[in-house]
Amino acid sequence: MVDASSSAHGDLILKNLTKTFGEFVAVDDLDLVIPEGSFFALLGPSGCGKTTTLRMVAGLEEPTSGTIFIGKSEITYEKPYKRPVNTVFQNYALFPHLSIYENIAFGLRRRGVKDVDDQVQKALDLVELTHLASRKPNQLSGGQQQRIALARAIVNRPALLLLDEPLGALDLKLRRAMQIELKWIQTEVGITFVHVTHDQEEAMTMADTIAVMNEGKIEQMGSPADLYDNPQTSFVANFLGQSNLIKGSIVDSSGESAVVDVFGTKIGLPVLRNHAHDSSVLVGIRPEKIRIAPAGTQMNGNILEGGVISDASYIGVSTQYQVEMPWGQELMVFEQNDDGTPPLSKGDSVVLSWSPIFTFGLAGDQDVNAGSEAHPESE
């Protein structure tokens, strides 16, 4: 029998991991290191290969090539029941013929653990469902089933817990509550969590580290703040929140701040935040970082003139503007309603400005809209 608690520990390391189904490449040469004890989120649009990656780590799918390590021990071709890995399945997959108690005890019994009763009780306490121990899974609500699925996996103290969109079936309110609870449980038990989701907000609130995945590849990996403030591809810029991306060309990159020519206007871009390979660049700025004022107002920082408001929607805490620029592009601006000035209205001529430190630069050869179609909010 396997003793999950004493076998492999350490970081999860994926090297050149590839999975093809016939001609189709579902996971493409993935390299990933997930530090032990972290809450890691794998974020990406539907069909990008998240589940396939998890299934390879769990041993439910055999990689076409590449290796999987936990710490120093290789598990690439290990049978699923020999891996110190447990999964919370997308649809929970609780055993309908067993009581909640026996569902949770399943893994413990297979491993021949001595104090099954004690451990099951602790797991039930952790998810606060002790009173449901004798029920069958079909007598539980979705949220309760979700927590039992979590308890059933966690009770084994695996080196690694894989969660495949565990909150996908819950309504928004319950989802938010469960996010907080999951995060708390992870801190409590200290197990490495790999959490798959296509909800960027979920990933941002829960994870220490996020890897954004697209078409079988990792686009970018980092802390939520890092990914949001300093995206490196247009896909990440659009998939994680919203971005204004404006075509430009770098005319001077000798100083700490490069100078970019954007349709005739000079703009500052910190060199450290510039990810373009050559002079062709997409200048990026988040909508809430932009200040908006009637044309002619004195502004400083990066300034873009000649905009006309084409749409304004007042949504209480802020007002969202669509501003049409002289070169035909619509820019998005979110303005906090906190300075007592009346909101501007459609048709007004405006000037936009923002502090250069918020600017980021992306390689100019990318699709400006990459990732925005896959955006959960626009689904």
Binding site: M1, Y81, A93, P96
Partner: protein
């Protein structure tokens, strides 16, 4: 429908409401009529016949409420009654042993051959039950290749034979009712979510444990349905014992048939039929209760 509406309703929509209430009964009517003509009336006839006694002339009986008919029937056919259940039980066991791997393979391992295999499983139904049993008589008979092979290999002596043995009867029963076992088993195995097995593997169960702890329990509805569908008709069958057996392998069905058609002892036959029905009913109820209805997920 609120009560207020019922009270204030005009006469007109009250009648239409009444019509609506009657609708289910009208829909049930064909079924009820069918059941009455083809089930209740015959059952009544059977019960009534079972307590009659011989009147004047062969085949005429009068109602005398002679309940001793039942005791007589049991004492005279005890052996055949027990044999029926014994053979039916054996046939059910063999059918289960053969069907489970078969159904499992079709449900999980057959890939694109699934439909072809299912057709093959029901293929025997395209040929009459009687003909197939006669065919078995030929296959197991003196001129059949089975006997010849066994003799050639010296597994069986020149005197040995296969037909007219209990073996042949049980084999015939097993063969004839096999699809009734395989199909419900297949249906319940097919319904099992593959992710249950994946979850089991993920929770440290190897293939064998997964089979024992997850697959088998989840296929129990199929096992219960299959064993019932095999056992019940097998217990009442007389064709297999008639064609493949000998006088020592007679089952209760043969006795009933003989009493109706050869001896023309209607009350005796009716009493035995009722005894068979009630016994099966009791066995089935005990079995279903033990199998646990709530296990039938």
């Amino acid at each position: 429908m609120s009560t207020a509406l019922l009270h204030t309703g005009t006469h007109e929509n009250q009648t239409s409401l009444a019509k609506k209430k009657l609708l289910p009964y009208w829909l049930l009517a064909p079924g009820i009529i069918w059941l009455t003509i083809f089930f209740l009336v015959p059952i009544y006839q059977l019960i009534s016949t079972s307590t009659q006694t011989q009147g004047y002339g062969i085949g005429t009986y009068v109602q005398t409420y002679r309940f001793a008919n039942f005791m007589d029937a049991i004492t005279s056919s005890k052996a055949q009654l027990f044999r029926s259940f014994e053979y039916a039980f054996l046939a059910t066991c063999f059918a289960l042993i053969i069907s489970y791997p078969l159904a499992y393979a079709v449900a999980f391992k057959s890939g694109r051959w699934k439909n072809t295999l299912l057709v093959l499983i029901v293929a025997p139904f395209f040929c009459s039950f009687l003909l197939r049993t006669v065919a078995w008589e030929q296959i197991l008979g003196e001129q059949g290749f089975v006997i010849k092979t066994l003799r050639f290999l010296h597994i069986m002596g020149a005197q040995g034979h296969l037909t007219a043995t209990p073996f042949a009867v049980v084999a015939g029963l097993t063969y004839n009712f096999l699809p009734f076992m395989t199909l419900p088993l297949y249906a319940s195995l097919e319904r099992i979510d593959i992710r249950m097995m994946e979850a089991s593997g993920d929770l440290y169960a190897n293939a064998l444990t997964t089979f024992r702890r997850v697959t088998v329990p989840l296929s129990m509805p199929g096992v219960v349905a299959g064993t019932l569908l095999t056992f019940i008709p097998a217990a009442g069958d007389y064709i297999n014992a008639e064609l493949l057996g000998n006088p020592g392998t007679k089952m209760i069905g043969n006795v009933i048939e003989a009493r109706y058609l050869a001896i023309v002892d209607y009350p005796g036959a009716a009493a035995l039929s009722l005894i068979l029905m009630v016994t099966i009913l009791i066995l089935v109820m005990a079995y279903v209760k033990r199998a646990g209805t709530d296990e039938l997920v």
